[in-house]
């Protein structure tokens, strides 16, 4: 089965052609147009600008993905697109275009839950993954831990109470004047540190419910930076900045992985999937490898370009989903439930 996958739920406009084979999905082409330069000066994504830019780019991005794969519309078997959750204006651009394209070309069409997309990004490298799996989906918008029974199933175990982990990276990069987006910049800085600064203390929750919280980490980081005059403008070459970034890297990775042993035992998990933009983080990848080995879990983290939002993961998930009964009246949903 040959699929076209489209994704524009936030600030990446991406299209990919994926071939679903008995041995798993094969990536035939992927185009991704980032809006980092557009949103950078604002320090975060501006939803209306994101939607405006997606609309101008979706035709070119899609045509380029088809051309790079050497595929014409008539060769396709299915069109898959992100239906939600996400920024509604952004979602609706590729969502509307994909429906019109599939309708005119006579192609089956399917809307995909964005988080099922992130799970299925792992299918490219580990198509034979064994379930149940623990799945951490972590980005600038999500920090969720799920139990998956299959590639099309996600059951929430715990999530952040406030900010996503990715926000801690963006905010830190902003406070240190390192640039945008923060995740890759902080990670590069951290990798050059000789040692990590003191790690941050994990939050304790009075209600005892398992969850994460990252808003306190942002505040703690702010205080730490303020306590060291000149640090905010010292720049990425400064060893103090590097060791603070490494401290953030190690803190976030250890917090994210901490609940895994208990859940792995309780759910008799066989695998661990980590996906989403923050799954590109080098410290998280290396700590996850150690934890998975210790717990006897097979680890599946997509290659970095498949961790951030992309059309390939949407096609990969779309290949496994049932087709909707009334595709053309389907609507995008900024708060789509699993």
């Amino acid at each position: 089965m040959l699929l076209l996958g489209l994704e524009s739920s936030c600030d990446d406009c991406s299209a990919a052609v994926v071939e679903e084979t008995p041995a798993g999905p094969l990536l035939r082409s992927m185009i991704r147009r980032s809006q980092d330069e557009l949103h950078g000066p604002y320090g975060g994504v501006v939803p209306e600008l994101a939607a405006r830019d997606h609309l101008l780019n979706l035709g070119g991005v899609t045509a380029e993905a088809l051309a790079q794969a050497g595929v014409q519309l008539k060769d396709l078997d299915r069109v898959a697109v992100t239906q939600g959750p996400g920024l509604v204006g952004s979602l609706l651009t590729t969502f509307s275009a994909s429906k019109a394209l599939a309708w005119r070309a006579g192609l089956p069409w399917v809307g995909v839950h964005h988080l099922l997309g992130h799970l299925n990004a792992a299918r490219f490298g580990a198509p034979d993954l064994e379930f149940p799996a623990l799945v951490i989906l972590v980005s600038g918008g999500h920090t969720h831990l799920y139990r998956a029974e299959s590639w099309t199933h996600l059951e929430l175990l715990q999530k952040t109470r406030d900010d996503a982990a990715g926000e801690a990276f963006d905010k830190t990069a902003r406070m240190l004047n390192l640039g945008y987006p923060g995740g890759p910049i902080v990670d590069r800085c951290a990798q050059r540190a000789e040692t990590a600064a003191k790690l941050f203390t994990p939050p304790k929750f009075r209600d005892g419910k398992p969850s994460w919280s990252f808003s306190g980490l942002k505040t703690a980081m702010k205080l730490r930076i303020a306590s060291d005059p000149g640090l905010d403008v010292a720049g990425p070459e400064d060893p103090r900045v590097q060791s603070l970034c490494r401290s953030l890297n190690e803190t976030v990775a250890s917090w994210l992985l901490k609940p895994l042993p208990d859940y792995a035992q309780a759910h008799r998990a066989r695998s661990l999937v980590i996906s989403g933009g923050v799954a590109c983080n080098s410290e998280l990848r290396s700590q996850a490898a150690k934890v998975a080995k210790r717990l006897g879990l097979r680890l599946a983290i997509p290659e970095p370009r498949l961790c951030t939002d992309n059309g390939a993961m949407i096609a990969s998930a779309g290949a496994l989903l049932p087709l909707p009964e009334s595709p053309w009246s389907t609507n995008a949903d900024s708060d789509l439930k699993l």
Binding site: Y42, A51, R52, T62, A63, G89, S96, A100, L101
Partner: protein
């Protein structure tokens, strides 16, 4: 067979034109993204009414604004999706559509067209047989002076807010919905002979709040991302 789409208001306007024949549909859809729910099924039904399938389409003309940001994007994105199947596309402004509707109804120019700009503002453009001024955004209170005594027309939904400032609308259209559909048909016929546009660039006539609130951080924005492409 040319498809005409106007998703810029709370009433969706569709036309299908084949030579002398035309099929039209006006659908009240409300605000926001319910256009996404209604648009493609309505196009599909209209084609069935014309006894044709999607393969019979030969081009798409879409209204690029100004109007509701999200709703106009749904129409333009739909046209962009159809363009990917090999169809030529053309854009037209909401002013041109309304001017064409008035022309089809026999209203002689020149006249002002006033569209709801939200936030106590109106989008205005002077029309005769063609646009006679730049499209502009004007504070509602400045309209009496700006219009200079020329007749004006505004969609019915905008009348209640214009009435205290300008009095009753001097140009009457007995059936606004029907006139708009006839304008859309006329526009589709006109566009066929013209050079297609790709991609279609919206005409928002209003910048994003980010640009208003952070002008210093917005110097990198292209005109297409600011107010869109003026028509």
């Amino acid at each position: 067979m040319i498809l005409g789409i106007d998703s810029t208001t709370e009433r969706l306007h569709l036309a299908l034109v084949a030579g002398d024949r035309a099929w039209t549909r006006g659908i009240p859809v409300g605000q926001g993204h319910s256009h996404s729910h209604a648009l493609l099924p309505a196009i599909s039904e209209l084609m069935a009414e014309a006894g044709a399938g999607p393969a019979r389409l030969t081009g798409v003309a879409a209204c690029v604004g100004p109007g509701g940001f999200t709703s106009l994007r749904i129409g333009v994105a739909t046209a962009e999706g159809l363009a990917l199947t090999g169809l030529p596309t053309w854009g037209f402004s909401a002013f041109e559509l309304r001017a064409k509707a008035l022309g089809e109804a026999g209203v002689p120019g020149p006249f002002w067209i006033l569209l709801d700009g939200q936030r106590q503002e109106a989008f205005v453009q002077k029309w005769g047989g063609a646009a006679l001024s730049e499209a502009e955004r004007r504070p509602m209170a400045s309209l009496p002076h700006h219009l200079g005594g020329l007749p004006w027309w505004a969609p019915q939904a905008f009348h209640s807010r214009l009435d205290p400032i300008l009095g009753p609308c001097p140009i009457k259209l007995p059936d606004e919905g029907d006139a708009t559909l006839r304008g859309l048909v006329a526009l589709c016929r006109e566009r066929v002979g013209q050079v297609p546009e790709s991609p279609l660039v919206p005409f928002y006539l209003r910048e994003t709040d980010a640009e208003v609130n952070f002008p210093a951080a917005s110097t990198h924005l292209s005109p297409a991302l600011r107010q869109g492409l003026a028509r």
